[in-house]
């Protein structure tokens, strides 16, 4: 039995940052990388299934990204994942979430897992569509925002609870294999043990090319994507103003502003 967990190395912004020269992203020096928070919960859910099962369960983590992503994959290995796969080719640069879903689906076809877990969304891009598009490319059932999961390895159905608006839960029976996007709070992610971290450092990370999963450069990248970033910018501010001075001065200033707006 195998669970494939799709993970992403996300970028958090430093407090002050510069936009890249091409205007399409933030300058890399100002980005702090870490494993996507949602993916920590996905991995933990897979580990819980593995650890509570009598049958052998293999947890495989997969990510799409350059060399630096190895650090996040090692974190997953340290927490108990059995294998880690990283897919990269320079032509993948600029791919949108749907295209990343296509790549992950190609990995899933090769790995033939019984379940695919992904985070509901990534904290940096927030499209919330990678997991769903993976299911679409696989033509598998999917469920989003999963807040509870009852699943026995090998079963052809799983019971899930999805988080809806207003604190409501929706209980759903889903056919397996399926793609589930896991919500924060479904479990309590573990810290990696020191032993796990040391062992993870020695474990290989399988580097997979596009050809290895039956794709080509023409299937990925900005040109093959359904959406492309045109520019990234900070909107102009300046509509708010602090009014200083004594109470009388503040009142006079407010009257002046109101009169200006009224054209008086």
């Amino acid at each position: 039995m195998k669970i494939l967990v799709a993970v992403k190395q996300v970028a958090a912004l430093d407090e002050d940052f510069e936009i890249r020269a091409d205007g399409k992203d933030v300058e890399e020096d100002f980005l702090l990388y870490d494993l996507n928070e949602w993916d920590d919960f996905s991995l933990e859910e897979a580990m819980k299934i593995k650890e509570s099962s009598d049958a052998e369960v293999e947890v495989v983590v997969v990510s799409v990204g350059p060399d630096r992503v190895d650090e996040s994959l090692r974190k997953c290995l340290a927490k108990g994942a059995d294998r880690a796969i990283r897919v990269w080719d320079d032509s993948i640069e600029g791919s949108d979430a749907i295209t990343i879903g296509r790549i992950l689906a190609a990995v899933a076809k090769k790995e033939a897992p019984d379940m695919v877990f992904a985070g509901v969304q990534s904290s940096d891009q927030s499209y919330a569509s990678t997991g769903i598009s993976t299911a679409a490319y696989l033509n598998w059932p999917h469920a989003a925002v999963v807040a509870d999961l009852q699943y026995k390895p090998g079963a052809n159905k799983a019971i899930i609870r999805r988080e809806l608006e207003g604190g409501m839960l929706q209980e759903v029976e889903i056919n397996c294999p399926a793609v589930l996007t896991i919500q924060l709070g479904i479990n309590k992610p573990r810290y990696a043990s020191l032993r796990g971290i040391k062992q993870a450092a020695a474990k290989p990370i399988e580097e997979v090319s596009l050809a290895d999963i039956g794709l080509s450069a023409g299937d990925v990248g900005a040109d093959s994507s359904m959406s492309r970033v045109r520019r990234m910018y900070i909107p102009a501010k300046g509509r708010a103003q602090m009014i200083e001075g004594t109470l009388a001065e503040q009142a006079a200033k407010i009257i002046q502003i109101i009169n200006e707006f009224k054209g008086a």
Binding site: D16, D29, Y191, G245
Partner: protein, 464 residues
Amino acid sequence: MLALKTAKYLVDKAVEAGDIYSAAAVYLIANIEQRVVLEGIMFGKRRDALALARWEHTPADVLNTLCLRGAGDAAVAVRLDRNQNTPEAALARLYDVELNGNASFAVLIAQHQHTPNKVLEAIAKFSDDIQSLKAVSKNPTANVRVLSLLISRMRNSKMEEVIVGNVAANPSTSDDLLATIYEKGDTRIRVVVLAHENCPLFLIESAMNNLASETTEIQRQLAKNQRLNIDALSYLSVSQDKVVRSGVATNMASSDVIIKQLLSDESHLVRRALAARADLSAASAKRLMLDKDHWVRQWLARNPKVSRKVLDKFSTDPHADVRRAVARNEHCSRRLLSVLAKDENAWVRSAVAYQKNATRCLLEALANDTDVDVLCGVANNSRTPQWILQKLITSPEADIRRAVILNRKAQRKTLLPLLEDSYYLHRLLLVSSTALKDNDKWALCDDPDFQVRFAAFQYFAKSL
């Protein structure tokens, strides 16, 4: 192995690690040649220089060097301006570099607590940026000369009221300056001056002599002042304002007669203040014992002045917070602790577990509790036997394991397994543990977490 831990050995090890945080930890003990290598590691990439300029634990000498090398980079400079560890010299240099630059940088320098007074003075004298001037007026390290200068410069400007208000609240403001501010200030400013630690006695006496004509805001402030005489306190104790009366109830200068009179005050604010008094008499405690407000009873139950009889009575109080307060009282008897250890409320049992008077026997019984807060108390209590602590360090609850680490009596043998704890903060805390030997901590220099490595290298560097 410890003999090898010379400065050179430690720096070489940090260089070998090639990590910016380990390098920063040993920078101070490195020789000139080693510093060049360390600087290459720390500042070789702009990304790393930015990370160190921002990190709140970066040592001052590293920030100073970074300032010398990278002050021209605005992104580095703004992080140095914000970093609480940036030393005086670096801030003075940054001020010179940024003098004609972005005003928001000047604000950061104006509010930094390491900015030298000569720089603050220059800002106070020459800056036209209101935000910078306001930042100087609030800066607690600004001296009287700077603050006086600022007030003179702002006189008759539209910002005078704001600046004067900030200076009145600034802990560095002298009694003379406060007197000047008080003389010209409105009620709000006068309240701030009266609350100031350096407020001259004659101002308090003056306000005290005119109590009837003072505003409620000033009366509220004066009521808490221990320099008030009995007549003034008596006058304020019958104020219509409950906050004024509550101030009198808190004031340790209030006489027994005043306290007695306030015991039947209609406001629970006043009675709560009385219940918490460190000089509460037995008679007063008896009066407050039956108070309907559970906070009054709770404060009373925490008060170390109350008798065992009062604590006995409160140990069966229907409100769990009152029973918990009994369990926290430093004079709570062992007999009462035994009763409260069986309380239905876990929060009450937890207070027993944290009690310094809890017996070994009681702690052994509480160690079988299933509540995390109770077990944290047992783990933290210095009377808990080591064999129980050794059991508790295997708990899956990080809070319980951390409580063992924070237990002052936890022995080396108990703590050793925690050096491998999965939570990085626990390993970080163990770096400064006095129960562990240096040899035990040495492996932390190779810890996977950068903060632990930094703390370990810094610990060894400081112990050379």
